[in-house]
């Protein structure tokens, strides 16, 4: 992916976090906001260099924490973890497959909030998490699963219109080379 779509990943992260605050009625109904940042970090880890994925996790985590009462940085660690795992396994993931994209999104969407919750509740007695958190957690996982192929299509399209054009294949063929002189 070229640099311009890569920078737009950060804009998408910014909009994702803002979108989480836009539907208070929905958030009240399911018990929490839906954050699509994990699937975006997973997408970046699959298609971009490690620095971009790590930077996206850092930026997204800090921006997300700035709008909540959580300790600053508590969301960054889980996103980095998601990014690191997927980046290391990216050669084994069939990233062109729709099903694989769904599973990656679902995994990221379930792992990141669970890790964040674990980090927040670490050392808290009594634990602040309960069964009431299951619904927003599952809803977040499913939303990230649905968003994952969407990210792929969106950034493919952005790459086509903003990225550097691919070099046209040369008409030169080695087997048609005319060898001059004696062989």
């Amino acid at each position: 992916m070229s640099w311009l779509p890569q920078s737009l990943l950060f804009v998408a992260a910014w909009l994702c976090i803002f979108a989480e605050t836009l539907f208070p009625a929905w958030s009240r109904w399911i018990g929490g906001g839906v954050n699509l940042l994990p699937s975006l970090v997973a997408f970046a880890a699959l298609h971009c260099p490690a620095g971009v994925a790590a930077g996206l996790a850092l930026f997204g985590g800090i921006a997300s924490d700035s709008l909540t009462s959580d300790k600053l940085g508590v969301s960054v660690g889980p996103l980095v973890l998601v990014g690191w795992i997927i980046h290391h396994r990216r050669r084994l993931i069939l990233k062109e497959q729709f099903a694989a994209q769904l599973w990656v999104g679902l995994g990221a969407g379930l792992l990141a909030p669970a890790a964040t919750l674990a980090l927040i509740t670490l050392g808290q007695r009594p634990a602040i998490a309960g069964w009431g958190d299951a619904l927003p957690w599952l809803a977040g996982g499913l939303a990230n699963a649905a968003a994952s192929p969407g990210w792929r299509r969106l950034f493919d399209w952005l790459e086509r219109i903003l990225g550097e054009p691919k070099a046209a294949s040369t008409s030169f063929r080695n087997d048609r080379e005319i060898k001059r002189g004696r062989t």
Binding site: W14, A54, L58, A63, S66, L72, G77, V80
Partner: protein
């Protein structure tokens, strides 16, 4: 090499996370504020969009809906104005009654409160009707007053109401005394609505040069109707009477006879 680089990238960010989690609260607060400020334009945009949507919904309202709403609001406003007026009147009455009861408890006479329920429109300065009748124990000649001063006496009694002859009425003769000089006099009859201006005249029994503006005039208690010491008014000016045999002093009446709403009747 690539794997090494990626590990480095994630490792650096992980180290930053540890540093972030251990930031002092003030630094973390500043960083949080800076990060949150990134969203200010978006929140502004969302607010503007919501306002625009509201505006658009106003544009879609039909004239009929607006007129119906306007009519409903007008009815509601009228009802509220009526309620407010009633509330104000009740509050005023409450304050007056509180003052009356407060004064009643310190007055040297045993009094009963009564409400003014009517006035004769033709001779309004001469009498009022109060809701204190024979059933409540009213009797003719009972003195009627307010905390400010004397009002008059009961002229006639019905079952549930009584007619009060006000100061200045020919049927309400009052024997008065100037508090400072102890000169005696009589409250003069008022033949027109002049008492409406709040003034009465007291005629002394002899020439009294010692009466000065500002002196207080009160009931003397000699007439047998009014107990002594009820304030009638304050001397405004004096002049010699006909033939120089007496003095006429103009008084400003202490009780506001034009605005009587609640009064006290002195019990026998």
């Amino acid at each position: 090499v690539t794997r090494h680089a990626s590990n480095w990238a994630f490792g650096v960010v992980a180290a930053l996370v540890v540093a972030l989690l251990n930031l002092p609260p003030s630094a973390a607060g500043r960083l949080r504020l800076a990060a949150a400020s990134l969203f200010v334009p978006l929140f502004g945009l969302a607010g503007a969009a919501a306002a625009a949507a509201d505006q658009a919904s106003y544009e879609l309202l039909t004239r009929r809906t607006l007129i119906t709403e306007l009519e409903r609001t007008k009815h509601e406003r009228d009802a509220l104005a009526l309620q407010a007026a009633k509330g104000r009147a009740a509050l005023d009455e409450n304050n007056r009654l509180r003052a009356l009861i407060g004064w009643q408890s310190t007055a040297p006479w045993k009094t009963r409160p009564a409400k003014v329920v009517g006035r004769n429109p033709a001779m309004w300065w001469r009498g009022v009707t109060i809701d204190f009748g024979a059933r409540e124990g009213a009797r003719i000649n009972q003195a009627v007053l307010t905390p400010a001063g004397l009002v008059g006496r009961i002229r006639s009694v019905e079952t549930t109401s009584s007619e009060v002859a006000l100061l200045g009425d020919p049927e309400c003769g009052v024997s008065a005394v100037v508090r400072e000089t102890r000169d005696l006099g009589l409250i003069q009859e008022v033949r027109s609505s002049a008492v409406g201006d709040g003034f009465l005249t007291v005629r002394t029994l002899q020439i009294c040069p010692g009466i000065l503006p500002g002196h207080a005039v009160e009931t003397s208690g000699f007439g047998g109707v009014f107990p002594a010491g009820i304030s009638i008014g304050t001397v405004v000016d004096t002049r010699p009477g006909e033939g120089g045999l007496y003095t006429e002093a103009r008084l400003r009446v202490a009780a506001d006879l034009n605005r009587l709403e609640e009064v006290l009747v002195i019990a026998p």
